[in-house]
């Protein structure tokens, strides 16, 4: 039988006053420090003893400057501490980076959105993380910093498996960088879950695309909860790119997207159902973006 733990186990709480101090605290303490952003994943995980009990919990909220959402001509920068709520409520994100704001507003509850961060969502790296397909379809990158320096990693090279990423133990994700999207591009994030509130995605599909003279100029398709990590569907994208997105072609691309998936079979949905839904939801998302053109 599963033990129900009501209390948190013992750990020390660290509150660094600067990025330098934070990076110094995590370097050389491999394995014993856990970073805390909103804590909406971390605290329940530690409480349930799903992760090894950390000796130290380092609260990043005391590091100045990490909460900003910045718009500039070449895109958008989302600081590590920007909450799901702040991203969901940002009018420019809603207008120009629609899949991300749609994903944010469909996550969890007001209480969780007020605390949880988009960065924490991708660092936690569950296959169903709602912001991941949206950010993949937007071509996002992340900036990782450590005492050794900073590096940028495209999001499609960031996830390595369920709950694992390329982040090293002395690194901290400081920023999510989203490039400016093509003028006239449109995007959508569709989330399928049995309940329409407070539920994880059974399948999540994000599409970002641009049309020119009835031809699909550019498209990115990303899928969540259908493989060990959130993924892109590059072959399906290639079918559409440079072609007229007829209903037949959209159907073919959606079937192709299915070949990229390897969903799990669990109590939330069977493998067959998830597969059928990848096809149906991808087709629906593509039709939303390119629909009505013959």
């Amino acid at each position: 039988m599963k033990t129900f733990y009501r209390r948190l186990p013992k750990f020390e709480y660290l509150r660094p006053g600067s990025m330098e101090e934070a990076l110094a605290l995590i370097s050389g303490k491999e394995g014993s420090v856990k970073l805390l952003a909103g804590g909406t994943d971390l605290i329940p995980q530690v409480k349930k003893r799903e992760v090894p009990v950390p000796a130290f919990v380092l609260d990043m909220k005391s590091i100045p400057g990490l909460g900003n959402i910045t718009h500039h001509h070449n895109g958008l920068s989302i600081g590590a501490l920007a909450t799901i709520q702040a991203v969901g409520a940002d009018p420019v994100i809603n207008e120009r980076f629609a899949p991300l704001s749609q994903a944010a507003l469909q996550m969890a509850s007001p209480q969780v959105r007020n605390r949880g961060t988009i960065a924490g969502n991708i660092c936690n790296a569950v296959p169903s993380a709602d912001s991941a397909p949206a950010l993949l379809a937007l071509g996002a990158e992340v900036k990782l910093e450590s005492r050794r320096g900073a590096r940028r990693v495209p999001l499609d090279q960031f996830f390595t498996g369920p709950r694992t990423t390329v982040i090293k133990e002395d690194e901290l994700l400081t920023e999510i960088i989203v490039p400016a999207q093509e003028p006239g591009s449109r995007g959508v994030y569709l989330k399928l879950s049995p309940r329409h509130s407070m539920d994880l995605a059974v399948v999540g599909v994000a599409v970002m695309g641009t049309m020119e003279n009835g031809i699909c100029k550019e498209v990115k398709i990303a899928l969540g909860a259908v493989a060990p990590t959130p993924i892109r569907a590059p072959m399906a994208e290639a079918l559409l790119r440079g072609n007229r997105p007829t209903p037949e072609l959209i159907d073919e691309a959606a079937r192709n997207a299915l070949t990229q998936c390897n969903p799990i079979d669990d109590h939330r949905a069977s493998r067959e159902y998830r597969c059928d839904m990848v096809y149906a939801m991808t087709r629906r998302a593509l039709t939303r973006i390119f629909g009505g053109t013959r």
């Binding site: 009501r6 020390e12 609260d59 509850s109 605390r115 509130s197």
Partner: protein
Amino acid sequence: MNLHCRVNEKEYDLEIKPHMTLLDLLREELGLTGAKEGCGEGECGACTVIMDGKAVNACIVLAAEAEGKEILTIEGLAREGTLHPIQEAFVEIGGLQCGFCTPGMVLSTKVLLDDNPNPTEEEIKKGLEGNFCRCTGYTKIIESVKVAADKVRG
């Protein structure tokens, strides 16, 4: 470790354990048992309190994270023995049965109405999506929020 915060407009200087949740602090150290512990993992909203104007689940916030913050619990809502209009509405309409979810429902309603004094039914449902009720079937709760909105707008 030391914690300084305001709870229901009262200043506190407290000695806390770093691994204590805000809910443990409120219920067990300060004796404010209005916020309830249902799931303990952010799912049910029974532990909802308002921190710096935003609804949070106290069961997954560390007490240490409340440093310098202003916290409002259900105990801080009534004024000199007079119920807050939202509380009045829940009582009048009967938006509760066992009452376990009610403190959280009322506080989520407060932030909803602070932000949007005239919400549609859909907006009410969205605003309360993080608060579960196992008794009422929600109909009376939604009605209570509508009446509360009328009262708050005056």
